[in-house]
Amino acid sequence: MSTELIRNFSIIAHIDHGKSTLADRIMELTGAVSDREKKDQLLDDMDIERERGITIKASAVTMNYEHGGKTYMLNLIDTPGHVDFHYEVSRALTACEGALLVVDATQGVQAQTVANAYLATEAGAEIIGVINKVDLPSAQPDITAEEIEHVLGIRKQDCFHISAKTGMGVHELLDAVVTLLPPPPDNSDKPTAALVFDSECDAYRGVICYVRVFSGELNIKQKIRFMGTGRTHLITELGKFTPKMSPVERLSAGEVGYVIANVRQLSDITIGDTITDDASPAEKPLPGYVPPMQMVFSDFYPGNNTDYPNLRLAFEKLALNDASFSFIPQNSPALGFGFRCGFLGLLHMEIVQERLERENDIDVVQTAPTVSYEVITTDGRTLKIDSPADLPDVTQIEELREPYVRLEIITTTDTIGGIMQLSESRRCKLIKTDYLSQNRVMMQYKAPLAEIVYDFYDLLKGISHGYATMDYEFTGFEVGDLVKINILVNKIPVDALSLIVHRSTAENRGRKMLVRLRKAIPRHQFEIPLQVAIGGKIIARESIKPFRKDVTAKLYGGDVTRKMKVLKRQREGKKRMKNIGAVQIPQDAFMSILDSSD
């Protein structure tokens, strides 16, 4: 099959700008789904995604579209729309030749619009500008078009005006997909090379790999080799998502579909790996995929130590559907055996947390999220530190480096002052300010990731009355004057409560941490001293006074059953906490240390 009639494309957009609605409309117009089948936002197949209105994972749908007397095969590859999922967006874009950049005419260009456009350009995808929601009374399509031209360099007269909701202009847009986007190159005569750009795990069929065939072809019963891992498998099923899984005999160069090849566990394959023919393999694997970069780390410990194997199983299960999440065993002196987990960002972490709770019945204690640091030791080694607990002794540190990002904030001009104040308090340096229009501005900062990863977004939303949007991209590690704050609970240093902060704010943060902990840790049967130490020196103390009275005055015959229930409840409350020495520390306490507000 010639690739002339194939178009592979993505829709990229800021959250809520109508990406999923447009995907639905396209599927309807091409007959991929009937009205009866359609549910809102068909591509989002996980509950959490639907509830949060965001798409976590890329999905791929194959459709037929008639144009100029020919039938084209359109492969729509969906992309996530949130700040944390740059990597997944880039994976999806690599499998495409083009992208529809959707901008809401009532909102204008937003931070993720810009970030996504950069990614598409980096992936070499052709971009079509799409202005959505033009039917709304508050739509300002002309201003939006000017912003697109100004910020993204797409000519305003080339933008398509549509309403994904009513379907207006979508036909014309699909015609443009066919006429303006290039077909994939025809490499069908070359050795087989297919890129695994996503995967999910089906309880019955095992791992389902989403693939884009770049050259050669994949056939049913073919013996394939994953070039990265070297493993070989027999293809048992090939197919396309229409959007239901529809088996086919063959996937040719340029096509997008799925491969099932008796792969039981996700750990057996690597996202970004190249599938080739075992007998006549490609010379080298396909370029392009960078392993996902985890920027935020947090330790998860089972509330009850006997749950450790169950927690491992739960993480393995989660990792099956989320290639950008990592977990490695961890042993904390205070908290016992658990896992260090890496996430793309804080939202990603929250999604994993939620899935962990929803899909498993395990009490988990989670430590405050931290970014990754680079340490140059006095003997010249470079260490990657994902937890303040792992930081070597100060005497062995030559240099401590923290991750920096390029931060883009788009907001209204009247909120610039507040945002500048917030950014300065977080050690962010303003690089430039760009006026998108008379009252909208894009501010670009150089920011330490640690300062913006936790509550920055919420504060930004507060200051801008929900208006400002932000996006960031990792730029590199830079030396910082950083120190570690250690917390001692009942005289025992608790590694899981330590924090790396800038020296200028360390004392102040340390004191705040103590106040938070005093409130978060319940009173015990004895007084609990809390101490904060910086560089081995205790700089502040607090104490949690013991409770003085906790006893049922009367317990006779009639009350036994009721009283036992009350006692059991009291005990259950304790069990939900983590024992450190004789002190029970609730989950909230581990998180409370990050709260830097007054």
Partner: protein, 384 residues
Amino acid sequence: MNSKKHDFKPAGLYVHIPFCQTKCRYCGFYSEPIKNHAPQRLISAIITELTEKRGQEPFFAYQTIYIGGGSPSCLPAKQLLRLIGEITSRCPKPEEFTVEVNPGQVSKDILSQLRAAGVTRISIGAQSFASEELTFLGRKHSVADIGRAVRSAKKASFDNIGIDLIFAIPHSTLESWKYSLRSAIDLGVQHISAYALTYEEQTPLQKAVEAGEVKPVDEETDRQMYDMTIDELEKAGFKQYEISNFSKPGFECRHNLNYWANNPYLGIGPAAGSYWNGKRTLNIADIKKYIEAIEQRKNVIAESETPDNIQVACETAVLNLRRRCGIILDEFKKQTGFDAAKLFAEPIGRYKKLGLIRTTSKRLCLTRKALPIADSVLCDFSTT
């Protein structure tokens, strides 16, 4: 279930009289004003229940008897004596026979009649020797009534008299509590129960607290009052044998010791609880419905639970540990089949380190330090 030799198993008998002159605002027990009811009908029903239960379970020996309430003393003397007569005819020589009385409702005459009918112990609901505290609690008797009741009981030749006191009443002070304790001691009673005021659910007092009309005493004062209780009573020759109970040597309330030993007891009357043949039950908490059920030979049990072996062991441990003598390891093993030191090894180890539990080769008990915060320790014995 019952051995073929028909051994008599020791048990307690409790009779609940759910009548009061007026309901006190703090009281969480089931009771109703007596003026709304015909006492003789209830007493007949209670006697019927006793007869029936006795018929079903003839192999228990009631070693202790306790008539509580409510206030049994608000019954017409004739009804109370009829009830006592019916009980003693089925259990001629109990080791202990207690009747609870309200200090405002007893005369030397009635007390002498009780004594003659076989009652051996009187428990007087004094609560406080500060009249404003009595008013606050909604008690109808006076401070003077307490002294009169004790003296009458002595004259009626009771030599085992107990007084109930309540501390941590809103507006009370360490001084007022000390005064109450001293007054009780000075009356020369053999037994004192001292309870911290408990805000029971659904009581008018608890609602007043929720509405912000009443402010409970602060935790520190409550603690100091409790500490003072133990100190003052021990100084006066009383021995603490349970979290809230103190007596002169040999005058421990055996009926209540039976509860803390987790031995069987039969509860008769509305809202009474039983632990009988391994089953915990609660009777209907409604006088009218109770009487109807008895008269129509219907079930009077409203709630029932059969704890499994582990639950029994946990209940036994929690109850035993309320005693100063704690868990007696041999007895515990015999009673539950479990080795307490093994079953509760984790909390025992932890609390020994904190000085909250003491162990010897024979027993396991809470330390003095653990008493004021006993629930926080006992909850770790409530399940395994």
